[in-house]
């Protein structure tokens, strides 16, 4: 393999990996405040793409994206209030079942609102055919957007959780929700906010990748599974590690294609999942102790 090809595979891996990371970050935020894996996370990505596409017909791209993110965040918050809040005392089994149910409902709702056609936002800069050359390998400017937004989100989350009172309060809820209550933090609002946040981030991801991958009503399930693999790989509850894990999985997949038939790509990532689950459930980047001292 020439150096240029290696680089090309790396770019391909990074592109896919950032998409996975978007979903995984969402998982982690909700997991941190509630201990729930929200299987509907992939649907937020789909909603982001769909809503922004709809609005982009009436207005410039960026306001449309902002509206899409806000609407999806509101949907996320609503889901928490309507479904999750009254379920939280239930068993894990119940939570799994309900979030799977919600994901089916969101998907079906999208089918009836937007039909089965694919949608794609226009490229943020340049067009479908423009590409940038980096050390001989070619890359679409949109990939740079994806990367940039991923970095901004990671940085933003870091800042948010580290330096803002709300962010700190959310961490407090995840570390010790009883103590958080005693400090006067409304844990219910924090949980609600975490749903909005992860829905919003998912939606933003959905907008940024839409020009590259297009948006389709049924795209959520596959993303949810890949995102979960990434979240587990990085260690549940650790959004920053999720980005690293996303890139790792993306690169693994992309290099696996260079050797194996693509048809078995998913089999590889799922076998990785099974191995991690069985051998090291705390994830690649977490030892048991570090995961008990969760850090963002």
């Amino acid at each position: 393999m020439s150096a240029e090809q290696v680089l090309q595979y790396i770019f391909a891996g990074i592109t896919v990996g950032s998409i996975y990371a978007f979903v995984a970050i969402g998982y982690n935020i909700i997991y941190n405040t509630t201990g729930i894996i929200n299987f509907a996370q992939g649907e937020f990505v789909m909603l982001g793409g769909m809503i922004s596409f709809t609005f982009s017909r009436f207005m410039p791209l960026f306001p449309a994206i902002i509206i899409a993110v806000l609407i999806t965040a509101a949907i996320g918050g609503l889901i928490e209030i309507v479904f999750i809040r009254r379920m939280r005392k239930n068993s894990v089994l119940g939570m799994i079942v309900v979030t799977i149910g919600i994901s089916i409902l969101l998907r079906e709702a999208a089918l009836y609102i937007w039909d089965e056609q694919i949608r794609a936002l226009s490229f943020f800069t340049g067009t479908e055919i423009s590409s940038v050359s980096v050390f001989g390998a070619r890359i679409s400017p949109q990939v740079l957007w994806v990367l940039g937004v991923t970095l901004v989100i990671v940085g933003g989350l870091f800042f948010f959780f580290k330096f803002t009172l709300t962010g700190q309060a959310m961490r407090a809820c995840s570390e010790n929700s009883r103590a958080a209550k005693l400090c006067g933090i409304k844990t219910d609002s924090m949980v609600n906010f975490s749903f909005m946040l992860s829905a919003g981030i998912g939606a933003l991801g959905g907008c940024v990748v839409s020009p590259l991958t297009q948006t389709h009503y049924a795209m959520g399930t596959d993303l949810a599974i890949k995102g979960f693999i990434v979240a587990i790989l990085g260690g549940l509850g650790n959004p920053i590690a999720a980005v690293a894990a996303g890139l790792i999985l993306g690169l693994l997949e992309s290099f696996s294609i260079s050797i194996l038939p693509m048809a078995y790509k998913d089999v590889i990532s799922i076998i990785i999942l099974l191995i991690i689950l069985v051998a090291k459930p705390s994830g690649l980047f977490g030892s048991k102790q570090v995961s008990s001292l969760k850090d963002f």
Binding site: G13, L111, I139, S254, A263, K265
Partner: protein, 382 residues
């Protein structure tokens, strides 16, 4: 107590709806349809269902066939073979339909091919795979052009362009697999070498890694065979990678949505397809022109969306069945089958159909045109 009554009510409703189904008026001509309106193949099933509904409504409004109204029973299989089997049995036995159109995908069609054959029910499939009509089952027909024609068109075009080494990518759907098979079968006849052939997932969202693999093999052209959104991802990713090699697609590209989704990257894609996509550009007097334009305008004004060749396949299927019923002037399934087999020179969206005992597709190589994308529009390849 209230809860229990609610439960009882729901169960009651469900059971009655189950047992009450299938009641219908007397004296209508029942035609069954199985389409994958939802699920993984909804790209096919949704326009197909819309088309047949529209056609039947029109014909009924105009008085029906031989004075009888048509009752169209559409079942949504969501591309599940087991549902297709269940629905086929239901349509044959319970609804006593005179013929079935659909299913949308090759897999489903193959699963019910023998069923229709043993119960002697005419089936006009809207799925493409060659195996549907080869070997010929006397009751099974199909409307989409044969995959082998498509492969041959692509190869002969390549020949004229001087292309020798190609890469093939296909979606892991029945359509993609069948197409890949046909390409591999005929390549050597045209002196073309398939350097690499790969399958990708139908829900794939980024194919740059796969295309990098192709690029490394120094192919002179790429063929993508699919009906899924990847049809616009492939051209976009190729451009991203700076691949300037010509891209050929299958007749599955016959949906302007994919061109829009691919934007500028779609320019110059070459693919064979029926004439529906270029209906207005056909010369006056072409046998298909009138019907193509009529269908296209009707569909687009009815549903506010662009027409696709898939809807066209269903259009042909329902029109052929109606023609056969007219010709047979009978509602007997055998008579309809015979009438279908003797249809000749019948213009449809896919071409001019002429069935025979050995050919249940009824279309020739000339049913396809090589098209390309020019300024975001489909156009003839010069």
């Amino acid at each position: 107590m209230k809860k229990f009554l609610a439960v009882l009510l729901i169960i009651g409703l469900i059971v009655t709806s189950g047992f009450a189904g299938g009641q219908s008026e007397e004296g209508t001509i029942k035609i069954g349809a199985i389409f994958a309106v939802t699920g993984g193949a909804s790209f096919l099933g949704a326009p197909e269902a819309k088309t047949t509904e529209m056609v039947v409504e029109e014909i009924n409004a105009a008085g029906g066939i031989n004075g009888q109204q048509i009752e169209l029973i559409i079942k949504d299989s969501a591309a599940n073979p087991e549902k297709a089997i269940s629905f086929a049995k239901q349509l044959i036995e319970e609804d006593q339909v005179v013929a079935i159109i659909g299913p949308s995908t090759s897999g489903e069609t193959m699963q019910i091919k023998d069923l229709c054959e043993s119960y002697k029910v005419p089936l006009v499939a809207a799925a493409a795979a060659e195996a549907i009509v080869d070997p010929v089952a006397s009751y099974v027909f199909k409307t989409p052009q044969k995959d082998s024609y498509v492969a041959k068109w692509i190869f002969s075009t390549m020949q004229s362009m001087g292309i020798k080494r190609i890469g093939v990518v296909a979606a892991n759907t029945g359509f993609g697999n069948a197409g890949k098979g046909q390409l591999e079968k005929y390549a050597s006849d045209f002196g073309i070498e398939i350097v690499i052939a790969e399958t990708y997932d139908k829900a794939a969202t980024d194919l740059t890694a796969l295309l990098t693999k192709l690029k490394a093999k120094n192919v002179e052209a790429v063929v993508n065979w699919s009906i899924v959104p990847a049809q616009s991802i492939v051209p976009k990713n190729m451009k991203q990678l700076g691949m300037e090699e010509p891209l050929f697609q299958s007749h599955g590209f016959g949906n302007i949505k994919y061109v829009e989704a691919a934007g500028e990257a779609a320019e110059g894609i070459i693919f064979p397809a029926g004439r529906l996509l270029v209906a207005e550009k056909l010369p006056e007097g072409h046998p298909q022109k009138e019907i193509l334009v009529a269908y296209k305008t009707a569909y687009e004004s009815n549903y506010g969306e662009d027409v696709s060749t898939f809807g066209g396949h269903a259009y042909d299927a329902i029109m052929l069945v109606i023609e056969a019923i007219k010709n047979a002037d009978s509602l007997d399934r055998n008579d309809i089958r015979d009438a279908l087999e003797s249809i000749s020179g019948f213009p449809g969206t896919g071409g001019v159909f002429s069935f025979s005992a050995t050919d249940h597709n009824g279309l020739g190589m000339d049913s396809l045109e090589m098209l390309t994308v020019k300024n975001g529009q489909f156009d003839f390849l010069q």
